[in-house]
């Protein structure tokens, strides 16, 4: 029996069979889905260990698991398991409880299929179906907000898929084969360049790089958080960057222009999205803009075209999935406890949900690129990749490096705002009495947060050695002078020392003094507090930037909205021609006849 096909079909069949279980048997549905995801996870580990595997079906359709697809496959099955674990606590009382699990399992199946496919049409088949499951999953949020977000998402993703088909057809014509692997098409003509662009656009739409990113904030705002954490935060990044890497490493041989497209997109995405994130007042939207911004690093890394950069980009893809998933899940816990994710109304959660806070803290530090967490290592590798690219000449690399490093600083800034506003700042009482955190939810977040630390400190020994380096030929990737384990040891020691000192000194009463907030001698009323949401208003008020923000608020930079405006104008134009008056229509017929006679008469038969 064919293992890969089995692994694809299994979650799909089980998912469909879930419809047979009565809706009330919530526990049973959860168990069945959990076991399915676990089996898929173990299966993918097994496939990963025995890779490379190639199995051919009828009609020359083959499935391949190599280093790249194996890595993404591990990620996909692992995150499905985590999300199902988390959903035991989070989705329990939801109206569309059963549908949620069905769609999650379908997503799992389609993702496995898309990753393993070596035939381009088979890839397109699973890839397109993923758009549909995402569309259905967003609808689970309910209401008109979710309906609008789902529509927008699917138009962007499904639309880019249509062009992907066109790009695939061009590759097929040029290469004479439908296989993804071993094509190595040099980008020499305008046609192949466009084929490359269509591949890249499909990857960008899925991963959420600019200019096709605009569905992510909308989706985050109205889909259930479990869905946001599952797809836009984790799976879509894995899949999108997988396609990007596949297309850059195996399908095309990039030229300068193609590299430049990737580098510009990466740099712009990092900066623009993080600037948007700085100004958000809603936790989910803030996180979603970071989910866009971080894609920039991956695109930048792959765009450098050298092994360190590409390895950095891929490692960042994995790391991002881990910490962004944790961040969204922690936002989910906050929402579950307080009923809101609006930072203006949150605060002081550190006492109510301490475990969630720890996970959120670790992943925030990780996304901001603070050593020794995993986000730092992969960003470091991307920087290294850019510097190495710069050694071959040209000046633009300084720009890319600046964008990457500055973006990282801004990320830290916005997470300080988030952590302060949600967890630290004092606030009015919450309506509901604090309850204990759900253990399944904490477990899911805890596993991910632990991974952030492990992948950071033991980056060289574990993830790079087993997961990333084999993709690029197996040799050790140069990391510069940074030694993660050593640094981790020093940082850990420092922290421990600090904690010890703090503990020791706080035994002495009155050593640490607490006082009221000083605001120029005025007495702050008890009811007011500093939420932290306005930390960066100063930036917002700088002349040029202010104009850009206003434009962004009016959605001038949203490709979807702009296209919608243009097309509805054209529709209106055409509608005005259709007056419903019969003589007009008859005159069109006459016009058509004249046209036909002219064409047929002019040309020789």
């Amino acid at each position: 029996m064919n293992n890969i096909a089995l692994l694809t079909a299994f979650p799909f069949i089980i998912g469909t069979l879930l419809f047979l279980i009565p809706k009330r048997a919530r526990g049973l549905i959860e168990t069945v889905s959990g076991v399915t995801a676990l089996v898929a996870c173990l299966g993918s580990v097994r496939l990963f260990l025995v890779r490379p595997i190639e199995s051919t079906f009828a009609y020359g359709i083959s499935f391949v698991i190599d280093g790249l697809s194996g890595l993404a496959l591990l990620g996909v099955t692992f995150f499905t398991l985590i999300i199902i674990l988390y959903s035991i606590g989070f989705m329990r009382d939801h109206v569309y409880h059963r549908s949620f699990y069905v769609y999650v399992l379908w997503t799992l199946a389609a993702s496995i299929g898309a990753l393993a496919a070596n035939h381009m049409i088979v890839l397109a088949l699973f890839w397109g179906f993923l758009g549909l499951t995402l569309y259905l999953l967003i609808h689970i949020g309910g209401g008109s907000g979710a309906a609008a977000a789902a529509k927008k998402t699917f138009i962007i993703i499904g639309g880019s898929d249509a062009f992907l088909l066109f790009g695939m057809a061009i590759v097929w014509q040029a290469a004479g084969s439908w296989d993804l692997l071993g094509v190595k098409l040099p980008i020499t003509s305008g046609l192949t360049f466009w084929a490359f662009i269509f591949f890249v656009l499909a990857a960008f739409a899925k991963a959420g790089a600019m200019p096709l990113h605009t569905w992510i904030p909308d989706c985050a705002a109205s889909a259930p958080i479990a869905v946001t954490a599952y797809l836009p935060a984790a799976l879509d990044k894995l899949l999108g960057i997988y396609l990007l890497a596949r297309c850059c490493l195996d399908v095309f041989i990039l030229n300068e222009a193609a590299h430049l497209v990737l580098l510009i997109t990466g740099a712009v995405t990092i900066i623009a999205a993080v600037m948007m994130a700085l100004m958000q007042h809603d936790m989910k939207k803030l996180l979603s803009y970071h989910a866009v911004s971080q894609v920039g690093y991956m695109v930048l890394g792959i765009g450098t075209g050298n092994p360190v950069g590409i390895a950095g980009g891929l490692f960042h893809m994995l790391n991002h999935a881990i910490y962004k998933c944790t961040l969204f899940l922690s936002a989910g816990s906050v929402e579950k406890k307080t009923g809101t994710t609006d930072l203006d109304h949150l605060g002081g959660l550190i006492q109510i949900i301490p475990a969630t806070f720890v996970c959120a803290l670790i992943s925030s530090l990780s996304i901001s690129g603070i050593p020794p967490f995993n986000g730092f290592v992969s960003k470091w590798m991307v920087y290294q990749g850019i510097v190495e690219m710069g050694q071959r000449g040209g000046r633009l690399w300084v720009l890319w490096l600046m964008a990457a490093m500055f973006g990282s600083a801004l990320t830290l800034a916005s997470f300080i705002k988030l952590l302060h506003a949600a967890y630290c700042a004092r606030t009015t009482e919450y309506a509901e009495a604090p309850q204990r955190e759900h253990c399944a939810m904490v477990l899911a977040m805890g596993v991910l947060a632990a991974l952030c630390i492990v992948f950071g400190i033991f980056a060289k020994q574990l993830p790079l050695r087993f997961l990333i380096n084999p993709i690029l030929g197996g040799s050790d990737i140069y990391l510069g002078i940074w030694e993660p384990s050593q640094a981790g040891l020093y940082i850990g020691t420092g922290l421990l020392l600090g904690m010890f000192l703090y503990g020791a000194l706080s035994l002495k009463k009155g050593f640490f003094r607490t006082d009221r907030t000083y605001i120029g001698g005025e007495r702050l009323p008890e009811s007011s507090f500093i939420s932290g949401t306005d930390f960066y208003n100063t930036i917002k008020e700088i002349g040029v930037i202010q104009k850009i923000y206003r434009g962004a608020e009016k959605k001038y930079f949203d490709l979807y909205e702009q296209a919608k405006r243009t097309f509805s104008y054209m529709t209106e134009l055409l509608r005005q021609m259709h007056t419903g008056v019969l003589p007009t229509y008859l005159s069109w017929v006459v016009f058509g006849l004249i046209l036909l006679l002219w064409i047929l008469g002019k040309n020789t038969w």
């Binding site: 699973f126 397109g128 062009f163 088909l165 066109f166 055409l574 006679l597």
Partner: protein, 489 residues
């Protein structure tokens, strides 16, 4: 005894028998009509893979009248008769809203007889006669509700349809004057391709059949006529009528009688692309559900024409397959629109919303059909659009391929609009009491939805050799068609 004439004779006979026998027992008309369409459906499945020529009254062509069955007609027969079976099943409950079901079934079966006749006819004048039978029945069916809008739409349809028929008749007359024969095969053998009279004849035919097929700029009647008809009729009109009496006849003439030339191929490409693009732009702005669907028929016929215009085996395969698929999902879409209208008595999208909760079967089948027309895998529309796009690239028509991809995006956008406003979102207060439509209607929609899901399998090589490949082959052999008919006859 050949089975071929029965495709015309059975529905024709039933059309007259139903009003005679079922005046007393009303349920009789339902049974009679459904049994008829079911038999036709089974018969059409039975002739898959067969090639035959039937000579009426044993007079040999070119003197006698010939009915020819080849791959291309078999494909249309299967499409027409299976959709009409689903439509009659749907009609049982749906048509209770109207008076006089008897006349409805009569007209319906007349239309089916006309379409089967067009598809099987090997004689140009007979083709015209059958086309008129189908058209006139459809004029009456469009105005069946007898409300103001319906009658107006029917009148417009009648006027423009008659213009088309006149041009077709003119074409037949000119052809007769050129060749002295009406048998399609014989005309083909004798046509002088370089005369200006021939060019005039070709123009007449392209205009006439183009108007029946609702190609831009001859499309203006369709968005009025198709939404006004009762839902099963809309499904028949958009699903099969424009194909049987428009696309089928036009393609048969161009490929097998005139012989495809680069000029004709370019005409198909340009008219096809224009229909595809203009149709989809018009559709996306609509708020009347059925009108939106109707504009998409124009757009999807554009895809079919584009595929034929490429004139490569792959392009023709895509076009033929898309034609079948369109019949299924557009038929289904109109039936779901009918279900919604049956329950909440409106076609305006703004007044719907959240209906999926109250009408799960309609919601699900409508989602399937919408995804299918938008080309989302693994549904049938995906495969045919894929083939058309690949065929565009393969034959070097990149710009047309890009248009096809773009229209696919726009189609997705407009069907997501339908889904968003009709089936997802908040349930409106006045729709809280809505219930799912009766079983028969659900059954009919489920059959079509299953077809949408499963029809991709028709592309599996061993299956394809039964239905799709013979159709492609019968078009690709070009004017040899004539020799085949004359030798068989």
């Amino acid at each position: 005894m050949s089975i071929i004439p029965l495709f015309v004779a059975i529905p024709l006979a039933s059309a007259f028998l139903i009003p005679m026998f079922s005046k007393r027992i009303r349920v009789f008309s339902d049974i009679f009509a459904n049994v008829t369409t079911f038999i036709l459906c089974v018969m059409s499945l039975g002739v898959i893979g067969r090639n035959a020529v039937y000579t009426v009254g044993l007079w040999k062509p070119p003197v006698g009248i010939a009915m020819a069955l080849d791959g291309w007609s078999v494909l249309l027969l299967v499409t027409v008769n299976s959709i009409s079976f689903c439509a009659t099943v749907f009609s049982i409950k749906y048509m209770e809203q109207y008076t006089s079901k008897l006349r409805y079934y009569s007209l319906f079966l007349l239309m089916v007889a006309g379409m089967n006749g067009v598809v099987l006819s090997g004689d140009l004048f007979n083709l015209y006669v059958f086309l008129e039978i189908a058209s006139i029945a459809s004029y009456a069916l469009v105005g069946f509700g007898c409300q103001h809008d319906e009658l107006e739409a029917s009148f417009k349809y009648l006027v423009l349809g008659s213009v088309a028929s006149t041009f077709i008749l003119l074409g037949v007359a000119v052809g007769y004057s050129l060749t002295g024969t009406l048998n399609m095969a014989d005309i083909s053998a004798r046509l002088p391709h370089d005369s200006s009279t021939f060019i005039f004849m070709a123009s007449c035919f392209i205009l006439g059949f183009g108007l029946k097929a609702a190609l831009v700029p001859f499309h203006a009647w369709l968005p009025d006529a198709h939404p006004s008809a009762p839902a099963p009729i809309s499904a028949m009109l958009s699903g099969v009528l424009i194909k049987a009496i428009g696309v089928y006849a036009l393609i048969r003439l161009i490929f097998n009688i005139f012989g495809l030339t680069p000029v004709l191929s370019h005409i198909l490409l340009f008219f096809g692309t224009a229909s595809m693009v203009i149709g989809v732009f018009l559709a996306i702005g609509q708020w009347d559900m059925k009108r939106l669907f109707a504009y998409h028929s124009i757009s999807q016929i554009g895809y079919v024409m584009l595929g034929f215009g490429l004139a490569t085996p792959l392009g023709i395969l895509g076009a033929i397959f898309h034609l079948m698929n369109h019949a299924v999902f557009k038929g289904l879409l109109f039936l779901t629109a009918g279900s919604v209208e049956y329950n909440i008595h409106t076609r305006q999208l703004e007044e719907m919303g959240g209906l999926r909760e109250r009408m799960p079967v309609t919601g699900f089948t409508s989602l399937v059909a919408s995804m299918s027309i938008a080309g989302i895998p693994p549904l049938n529309g995906f495969w045919s659009k894929l083939i058309i796009i690949i065929a565009c690239v393969q034959s070097g028509h990149y710009i047309f391929g890009l248009w096809a991809a773009f229209v696919s995006l726009m189609t997705l956008a407009s069907f997501l609009k339908v889904q968003k406003f009709a089936f997802f979102g908040e349930l409106k207060e006045h729709n809280k009491g809505v219930r799912e439509v009766p079983v028969g209607m659900c059954l009919s929609m489920m059959i079509l939805a299953l077809l949408c899901v499963g029809m991709g399998l028709l592309l599996v090589p061993s299956v394809r050799a039964q239905l799709l490949d013979p159709a492609v082959a019968s078009l690709l052999r070009g004017t040899e068609y004539a020799a085949w008919i004359l030798s068989k006859g």
